[in-house]
Amino acid sequence: MKPGVFLVKLLEIALIFFIILTLLFFLFRLSPGDPVSKMVDPMLTPEDMDHLISQMGLDRPVWEQYLIYVKNFFTGRFGVSFHYGEPVKDIIKQRLGWTILLFTTSTVMAAFAGVYLGKIAAWKKNSRLDNIMSISALVCYTLFIPWFALLLLWGLGYQLNLFPLGGVLTPELWVGAGSFVAKALDLAHHMVLPLMTLFIINLGSYLLLMRSSMLSVLQEDYIITARAKGLGETVIRDKHAAKNAALPVITSVGLNLAFSINGGALTEQIFTWPGIGRELIFAVSNNDYPLAQACFLLIALVVLVANLIVDLLYAWVDPRITY
């Protein structure tokens, strides 16, 4: 991939990012209501409210606020959250780790499992196995996340008492001087249910995509050549067919990342997983402009960068594509 093209792509991302930033800023500022008006405490007099608003700098004209915001943004200061009173950077730092831990593992696992199962389903087309797999993949894809998550919680979490009910860790363990292994196991134990929800939801789409792309690859002539060379079934399927069929799946990881972020936010909400998605939903309902904007811009950045990485990965895997 020639550096020139790479630069153009980076510029493109920067431009899109800036447009989103501006759109978002005015979207928040021009909406009715402000963080202070939510306070229903009868003891607060109107003077108190105006005092708070001026302290938050919301009384200045919108344009001025925008310029200050952009200046701060590019000098690394994302402002202080109205709700938590802490710098937005710290809040995100605390939350980012959890989201990445849950989100990337589930997406990667779903992609691998999807490719693996899709390949098998396509190879034995119209067999009973294939039908079972595609029907269950269809069901997984159309599951309603909150409903499914709560069923999992009720079934595995409560009835069978196998897994904890949401949250990230068991306090007693972490308060005392628990060993690192016990803590890691406890973390994994908490991660299972949300991971399973996201994994199953994403698995459906990857499996279906891999199956259909595998079916069209099996029509290709080089598969017959491979057979003519006397290669074994599994070699043909895994080496020759799967690699070609996996290419569209890679691009789809980038494309429907936005879809899986929706799923991620919902899952975090149900399992009280302190990630960026859940924080964004709170920040928005609290009219906490700085935090909401920072969270959303972070998500947008992740998606843009992920798409860039997907393009690079695609070029690396498929020699025909040269930028």
Binding site: E12, L15, I16, I19, I20, L27, F28, S31, P32, G33, N131, S134, I135, L138, V139, Y141, T142, L143, F144, I145, P146, W147, F148, L150, L151, W154, Y158, L208, S212, L215, S216, Q219, L255, A258, F259, I261, N262, A265, L266, Q269, G277, L280, I281, V284, S285, N287, A292, F296, I299, A300, V303, L304, N307
Partner: protein
Amino acid sequence: MLKTHYIHRFFAGWQIFIKNPVAKAGVFIMVVFMVMALASFCLPLLGPMYDPMTGIDPDIRLSTPPSLTHWLGTDNVGRDILAQLLEGAKVAFIVGLSSAFISIVLGTAIGMVAGYAGGLWDAVLMRAADIIMVMPSLVILLILASLFGQFNIWLIVFIIAILRWPAVSRVIRSQTLSLKQRPFIEASQVAGASSFRIIFRHIMPNVLPLAFLYMTFRVTSAILVEAALSFLGFGDPSQVSWGMMLQWVWKSGHMFQAPYWLIPPGISISLLTLAFYMLGRAMDEVLDPRLRRQAQG
């Protein structure tokens, strides 16, 4: 002559389509839900008690399990769950089909214009598509809903459509690009046809089958996003929908006490989206020539 050609092609396609087991299941579920949606129109005839929103059974105060008068039981305020389910089916169809249709019309038009015009138009439209593609639509809707207050159902439909057209426009654009080189397009250009006429007279018919295919996938995501939105409480409370039903179950604390109230809406959402998706996949085989040949074999 043109008409019969299309009809003929449609029936040929239908033969292959209906043989596919996935299509059969999809059509069956679709019909069941259509019957439910139509049944919701004749609810008022059964009496005020069966009004999904305000019909209250005078002598029922708590959420009761299925009984003779209420086949699926009642919610905690005494409203009939089956009535709400039927109403939800109607809403799901309205939301799903209309938002998918709008996003398809939008996506196809923009895709064709971008593909055919190329140059600046193409760049601008596709960049806009990129921006919207990047945005997680549910989160956007959450932001809009919590900032601008409650939406009625039609505004939700419109916003979902706005956030859903880029995916379609990309596919249509690449299809238009390949069509542009075809001789029959150059022929009509030479014959002096205006670009507007070329797009809508020549390119559109070839692109429509693909657009319809994507419509089924868009319906799926529209229903899921609307359900998620109402589940989180940002839906239109004056309009009963499956997502609202789940929200009422959740907020009234009956989530694990009233399976007869929790299961039907959840299952219906999955089943209806499944049905649309199955139709899409079956149509995919009819439209994709290679798969078509394989389907015959």
